[in-house]
Amino acid sequence: MKWMAGVVMAPVLLLADPQGSLGTSAVEARGDQLFTQGCAVGYCHGTAGSAARSPRLRGRTFEKDYLVKVIRDGIPNSAMPAWGDRLTDDDIGALVVYIQSLAAASVEVPAPAETASLAPPVAVKESELAPEVRQGRELFYDPQRLQRCSNCHRLQGIGTPVSVDLAKLSKQQLAADAVNALRYGRPRRVRGLVLKDGDRFPAVVVERGAAETRVYDLKGVPPVLRSLQSTEIQGLQQESGWRHAQAVKGYTTDDLKAVWAFVNWAAQR
């Protein structure tokens, strides 16, 4: 019953327009549509906010600012994703109006057909990227290849930071024709690690302590962060035999040009 107090909190227009005949109804309808397509689905908030794995929204009150923030930014380390990259501010506002309208909703949930319209799917913000940059981005992170740039380079929050932070390259480095470097580079930070059990592999040292050494093992793909006890290590050699060519062997020259265009674009943001 305490949730019914939420009626008072609901926007005045909604109270004044229970039948949805005013302008707000269009906003609310848009929110309803977006909710059905993005929030009610699967294991999320359930039809009309009736609860599933994610919390019930029906019959509850939420502050507008809180809803805007949570929808836009998500809740870190929870199942609530950020929608700011997929929804416009107007759409987020429409969702807020709709969710606040659920505060006064009865416990009885409408059948899904009443809300599942044939409207277009959730809007995806149009990318402003140049075609080559967009192609480079796809290649950089391409999930269909086991060997891809993001295995060793973290850029825009995605990837494993084994190697150089490409966002911190100098202007001169970015301006250079990188295809040759990507093809024939011999990264000095890749060393040859030899273990006492006879195993040897190219490695990037992350941390070297008296008792334990942490390295990225580059023998396979993806790289493995290994914590080795000093007693396991025979020695660390300057030359590993590893070449950057191994990391880009699945990419054509045009692919690498596109990747570099993306790196340039990302580094300047």
Partner: protein
Amino acid sequence: MHRMITLLMAVGVGVWAQDGSTKENWPAYGGQNSAWRYSALDQVNVENVSQLAAAWVFQTGDNDGGLQSTPLVMDGVMYVSTSHNRVFALDAVTGKRLWSYIYELPKTFTTFYGPWNRGVAVADGRLVMGTLDNHVVALDAKSGRQLWKVNVEDANQCGCNITAAPLVARGKVIVGVTGGDSAHRGYLNAFDLKTGRHLWRFWTIPGPGEKGHETWPGDSWKFGGGATWMTGSFDETLGMVYWAVGNPAADFYGGNRKGDNLFTDSIVALDVETGRLKWHFQQVPHDVWDWDAAYENVLVDLPVNGQVRKLLINVSKGGYTYVLDRTNGAFVTAWPVAKNINWISGVGPKGELLGRNEPVVGRSKLICPSIGGGRSWNHGAWSPKAGLFFTTGIEWCQEVAAQAETPVEGKTYFGGTFKLVKTPDGKSGGHLAAYNPMTGKAVWQYDYKYPLLASVLATAGDLIFTGDAEGDFFALDAGTGKKLWRFNTGSGHRGSSITYAVNGRQYIATPSGWGSAVAGLMQQFWPETEQFPNGSAVFVFALPEQKR
């Protein structure tokens, strides 16, 4: 000893061909890699189970999502994993903490398929676990020290992660992935247990040029789901790994993936050394109901028309139990574990679906069972002694409406909404039944007002253990289904109980802690369950010393 003799007489030579029973240890997620969840221990039995008493309790301290894991026991040490990838090693006699490990999660990421973890694997002195941010880590089982860690795919990109226990076979860590309700292409990976190096990947959705790719139009194969979100099985003699592959995405809308959508909703058998496909059996071609084939594959050897065959039992989310020949994938039989099934009218003699009843776009339709499944992922148990397969089932339906959706990599991709509703006969709830695996005939059935969402444990003491939503952990007579003992742990059961022995004393251990996606869904239908408390503890029981 007389118990063992009875056991052999019950099922003939089959028991020698594939012994999946556990004894002192509980070494793998399903007990052994044949996934029986059956223990040969019989110190606790139908005669004395009423004397069973709490020996110790371990509180993990992380209630979020409950406690859904299967503890493992090796040589007197219990290993239990919790939500957020915490691992505890405990003295299995006293519950004393030996070491703990807290996985360092990134500060920001979305745990759409989390935050729970369903178990770890332990072998050759190493403990391995999949993580919420889609890594695999290996720890020293003696100290908890991290040995290696590898990123399978960036969780912020794929929207996927790992919640299931890995399977270890021949020194390989074989581990699946979630992501079946997202725009993601599923896979199964093998890593070297010692070094963490990647050994092979099996894509559950074939790429261009591969067999089965023709069942995916356009780019739909890139976003088609096919998660491997539970744990597989392994037959050492055949060298085959068995995994059940989840639903295609979008779950309810198949308009942009017209075709069979291989290998979703399939059981796949892979060569353990190479990951190459040996055979597959697809339960649901072009699934539009979210009927994963994700659950356990129980490997048993049983007579079929008088001849012992190597079989595999898999209960699907759509509510049917499939029995296949695990040497070649041949269909043997299928039978339902729920009464309320209307998405098909039945399964034909070759395993084909009869009378498909599909959701439609923009219009609500009654489909039974609900998306929560005719059974959830909680594991069944096979008792060779009883010759019975014990599994839960759920009676519930949903009003579902499909909707067209455009995939966005790593984002949710369901293609529909639903509302849970009662079954047409007005009765809904759960049950646990004892089935003849070849006929599907139930010897007995135990009914419960809510779905039963904990795994089942069978023992040579003629006992069946499981727990319920209200916190009762209980023992049934395997032969009759009669309740012989119960203990309320204060929070509902969503994990998997085990049994083990140390210094000649048998223990029964159960995770307790309500949570999970399906537990969340229950609120739609049973609003009072919103008030059911979370928890996260391991309860361990034994007979009083003088009673043994």
